[in-house]
Amino acid sequence: MKRSTIQKSVVLAALGLYSIGILSSCSTQTSQAETTANTEEATPKELPVIQAELTDAPLVPAPIARKHAAKVVVNLEVKEVVKRLADGVDYTFWTFGGSVPGKFIRIRQHDEVEFHLMNHPDSKNPHNIDLHAVTGPGGGAASTFTAPGHETVFNFKALNPGLYVYHCATAPVGMHIANGMYGLILVEPEEGLPAVDKEYYVMQGDFYTKGDFGDPGLQPFDMQKALNENPSYVVFNGSVGALTGDKALTAKVGEKVRLFVGNGGPNMISSFHVIGEIFDKVYTEGGSKANENIQTTLVPAGGAAITEFKTDVPGNYVLVDHSIFRAFNKGALGMLKVEGGDEKNIYSGQILDKIYQPEGSTLQEMPTASAPKAAVATNKEMRLELGKTLYAQNCQACHQAEGQGIKGAFPPLAKSDFLNTDVNRAIGVVAHGLEGQIKVNGELYNSTMPKLKLSDEEIANVLTFVMNNWGNKGGEVTPAQVDKAKKSFKH
């Protein structure tokens, strides 16, 4: 392999011709040998030839049913296309098969793959392919350097099972990957993967555009941002929203879901997480060993992972890169919609809400929630108005929109005897928080109410709002009253 990539096709063509020559001479030899022993050579040599089924994300080709190796022909076409990166934002993607990520390739261990890489005549650039599933120089890149309007072919044998990334490796390689030239190839182990109900293909990638996130128009590649590893976009399956809305992944309650997760990079490492699910199994880094009960799995740039979980509860499950600013500000969001009947024993536990409760209090410490320059109410009407907003921001998550609370977890504020009996005690609870068991309208509650960072003015407003709604006794709470009550109700 001392020579450059490009004349490989001629060599291959020549080898093809050459092997025809060899084959014909061989066949005369075997015909002589046939009389003695014809069984040994014939069967193992003749692999059945199969055309590989390739799919676009999020779909995955069907599991391999055959129990023997085959010669698998893969035809992959490189195209440079202008497509949507986000709403109103286009980008010139360089693709394996017309979209990002590239086509999913599924083969079986010990298969012999005849790989055809075609570069569309309208391409501006030469391309090649480095499949991490290949053992050999450049993972195939050395043999597939392909000018526009040309096709190269090489063969490889899939020695190791696993989930592998493939990508273009033409100089400047970073730019080829940054433009979307990556995909996944699955080499199933001989025994296959355990059966599941749903399989999906999710691949993360980072993009570097001249404009900021969301800047409209056809955005060119920004080399400096790429060098600084400062992406404008981090997305699943090639665009913002490729896996949300009506393009969300779907499953039914009780189904086993397997996600083939890849990360094309070029720069970012993914902290792949599905909000509200625990991966029962993760084949870490796409390898053969499964780890169990995983919340977040790291997917390296140029790496992959297989995650599996059973859907227990209906609802929407959000796929994120848990480097969370990427999820909320750069597009790394996807969704799995799980449909089916409620699973009460899991659903009604409300354990997840409890865990999130302390986070609610931190939110309340954010400047927007307790703005120091909050308006000061001059009359009861204003107090009610301001109190309504404060309630929505600080209380509603637990005590609910109509003050009804959640039975067993959060006591009701509507027609609440605890509240109406002693408003000053209520002021103390809001000002200092509450821990320990209380009885509200005959029900025992034993959870924690966080200390709210509210000013006296705000406490007055929100309690005035509460007292004048949902069948409570009315009246006005003033800042002076709050100041006084705060001091007498401490714990």
Binding site: M1, R3, Q7, Y18, S25
Partner: protein, 211 residues
């Protein structure tokens, strides 16, 4: 009227004036003294992919003129070297000799070996001859060729050679041994130095059986 005249004048000149691919056998008449000429018994029309479609003129180590179609009729091993090269080229020659040894049983009339210089400025026919003698290359088997830089480049690109003269007497180059069939088509290429010649030998033997 004037341009018409021009046109016909140009047409008359075009064949000789512009360098272009033309049937190589048009040249085949004035080449009788070349050592390999005897082998060119079958002057079949060349296939599209034959290297011998190049109509360039060359000189061998004896200073005799030669055109590529004269290499027709036997299997040729072709490689590019330059004689002042101290590292890679001796190894290419060694690799070729290794292949030659395993082909001992075949007539020199069936398999030839062609070395093409990448350094026409320095590698005169005399230099090439001296090189052949130093390396004890059997003149019945080995042909060493030189031509103009442009002609060499044309052949080099067809052999998929990459090379660059760095100007300090060194030429960076790839190392390829090509197997050409009797019609001058590339049938196999061995890349690198010290490569196991097994495949190359097999490909030659397959071609020889077809002769």
């Amino acid at each position: 009227m004037k341009s018409l005249f021009c046109l016909s004048f140009i047409l008359a000149l075009a064949l000789s004036g512009c360098k272009q691919p033309q049937p190589a056998d048009a040249h085949a008449s004035h080449q009788a003294m070349a050592p390999t000429a005897t082998a060119v018994a079958t002057n079949q029309p060349l296939s599209d992919m034959s290297l011998y479609n190049l109509s360039s003129e060359w000189q061998n180590q004896n200073g005799e003129p030669l055109t590529l179609p004269q290499l027709q009729g036997k299997v040729q091993l072709m490689a590019m070297i330059y004689t002042s090269c101290t590292y890679a080229c001796p190894r290419i020659v060694a690799d070729l000799r290794r292949i030659e040894e395993s082909l001992d049983k075949y007539e020199t009339g069936d398999v030839g070996i062609v070395l093409v210089t990448m350094d026409p400025e320095n590698d005169t026919p005399e230099k090439l001859k001296a090189f052949a003698q130093e390396n004890k290359l059997n003149p019945d088997r080995w042909t060493l060729l030189t031509s103009s830089e442009a002609n060499i480049q044309e052949l080099a690109v067809l052999l998929n050679m990459k090379y660059k003269n760095s100007g300090n007497g060194q030429i960076a180059h790839s190392n390829i041994i090509s197997v050409l069939n009797a019609q001058g088509e590339i049938m196999h290429q061995q890349q690198g130095l010290g490569t196991d010649p097994d495949e190359t030998v097999k490909s030659i033997e397959a071609l020889l059986q077809a002769l």
